[in-house]
Amino acid sequence: MVGPPQTSFGQARRGSRLLGSGRGAVAVSTASTIVVLGALAALFLLAPGSAVVRHTFFNPTDMWKSLIGDPRQGYYSVGEALWLNIRMFLAAEVLILIFALLLAVIRQSDSPVMFPLRLVSTIYVDVFRGVPLILVIFAIGFGVPALNLPFVSSQSAAVYGVAALVLSYSAYVSEVYRAGLNSVHQSQVAAARSLGLSHTSALRHVILPQAVRNIIPPLLNDFISLQKDTALVGILGAIEANKAAEIFSDTVFNYSSYVVAAILFLILTIPLARFTDHLIARDRRRRLAGGIT
């Protein structure tokens, strides 16, 4: 491509973004990490209530017991319950990707015939981005069963939870899609249409593939958030990790189960977060490489 020469800003940085770069950088960041963590640990250990907190939140025996679970004692395994979070997340993710794309494409259409749909889709996004997710979960989880409809009203709490997550997250993700569609230059549309491709073909083969590449990082960001928010479905009584932790603490009167749940969620989300960083870095490298010919 013809473009201005790359400035120093555009040059690829060496070394880790997390640690910084340069000779003393690693030493400095290591030292400052030790100082900060040490200060926090000291604060925690020297606090007047430290022993109590350690016992109620970080008790190894209770952590292990809650992780494994014991139905005879009246509590579930937090680890096993996490499997429900994972399944809800995967089901919701697929549905969100489809539904949100539909919303975005409707909002991006410019045909007058589509006006009523466009209006509906705009109102939808406004409403579901505005209403707190927890209220949507309540409304679906308690409202739909109360309607006493055949089939629809007799689903499990997890199904209503997934439905609520899809309704709420699709509104956000459709806006991400829309940003992606807008990021593809109009000249690409002109080129595709000038070759005789229909509007749909141009969208499918030329615009969408480029749009999706541009929005993978923000999309993954939303999905990290979705992974955690599956914990909210516990309020409907579904035994997911957070609910299992709650049952444990209610039974044994120890909060260590919540820490177990938190650690399990971290194990789920951190790899996805690093993967997002990796994709952002790769995209940046590729664009810079593309700019120099």
């Binding site: 491509m1 013809v2 080129a191 000038s194 070759l195 005789g196 491709l197 480029q210 593309g290």
Partner: protein, 254 residues
């Protein structure tokens, strides 16, 4: 679109008007192009050359007048625009290749998806075209890896893969480094030699003089003057044409 017995003009434009907001860009254009004719459109930036080409390819809706291609009015309501565009190729100043596809996929996309050609046939034909323009070795590359001249040649091949009966070239060398202009102009010369009907908006006056059967000078959204290049470049009648050509000569472009 079929040939009628009278074999009408490839392009016939009558009273074409187009504006963007309050800015009147085309103000009553009348122009006929016979089959196999090569017409160069010259004029200052903003004189309406690009808009005229985009109107012919139905990329811009028009406000008044009509455009006939081989006798058929393509600006009447209810016309199948996709069908019209399939027989009219356009090449843009900025190449507009699809960056997420290899060269070969760029060329075969429209034949496969718009004409329903079997992929294998489309690829065979695409390779033959790429070979003809010395690009066969680049078929597996992505556009970002090519030079500007190569990208523009691929864009021309992409348009040709639809077997158009008319090619519209919109300042196709304006975004190129000077040393890359020649390779693209050579391709256009070959096309003209093969009898392709072409409308070319260009700032390359020397090239226009070589290749055009007729040169049209546009100013203020109108065709101010037109004629064979030998006449228009050496004995321009209109004052505006003279002024434009003098500026071009002073800039060393003629």
């Amino acid at each position: 679109m079929t040939h009628t017995p009278a074999d009408p003009d490839a392009v016939r434009i009558e009273g074409l008007r187009k504006s963007f907001g309050t800015n009147l860009v085309l103000d009553g254009i009348d122009l006929s192009v016979a089959s196999h004719e090569v017409i160069c459109l010259i004029g200052a930036s903003g004189s309406g050359k690009s808009t005229l080409l985009r109107c012919i390819n139905l990329l811009e809706p028009i406000e008044a007048g009509r455009i006939l291609l081989w006798g058929q009015d393509v600006t009447q309501p209810g016309i199948d625009q996709n069908r019209v565009r399939r027989s009219v190729g356009i090449v843009f100043q900025a190449f507009n290749l699809f960056p997420h596809m290899t060269v070969l996929r760029n060329v075969t996309l429209a034949p496969v998806k718009a004409l329903g050609a079997p992929r294998r046939d489309a690829e065979q034909e695409a390779r033959a075209l790429l070979d003809r323009f010395g690009l066969l070795g680049k078929q597996a590359d992505y556009p970002d890896r090519l030079s500007g001249g190569q990208q523009q040649r691929v864009a021309i091949v992409r348009a040709l893969a639809m077997r158009p009966r008319l090619m519209l070239l919109d300042e196709v060398t304006s975004a190129l480094d000077p040393e890359l202009v020649a390779e693209v102009l050579d391709v256009i010369r070959e096309l003209a030699g093969s009898g392709m009907t072409m409308l070319i908006a260009t700032h390359e006056m020397g090239f226009a003089r070589d290749i055009a059967n007729r040169v049209c000078f546009l100013a203020g959204g109108r065709i101010v003057e037109q004629g064979p290049p030998a006449e228009l470049f050496t004995r321009p009648q209109d004052e505006r044409t003279r002024r434009f050509l003098r500026r071009i000569t002073d800039a060393g472009r003629l």
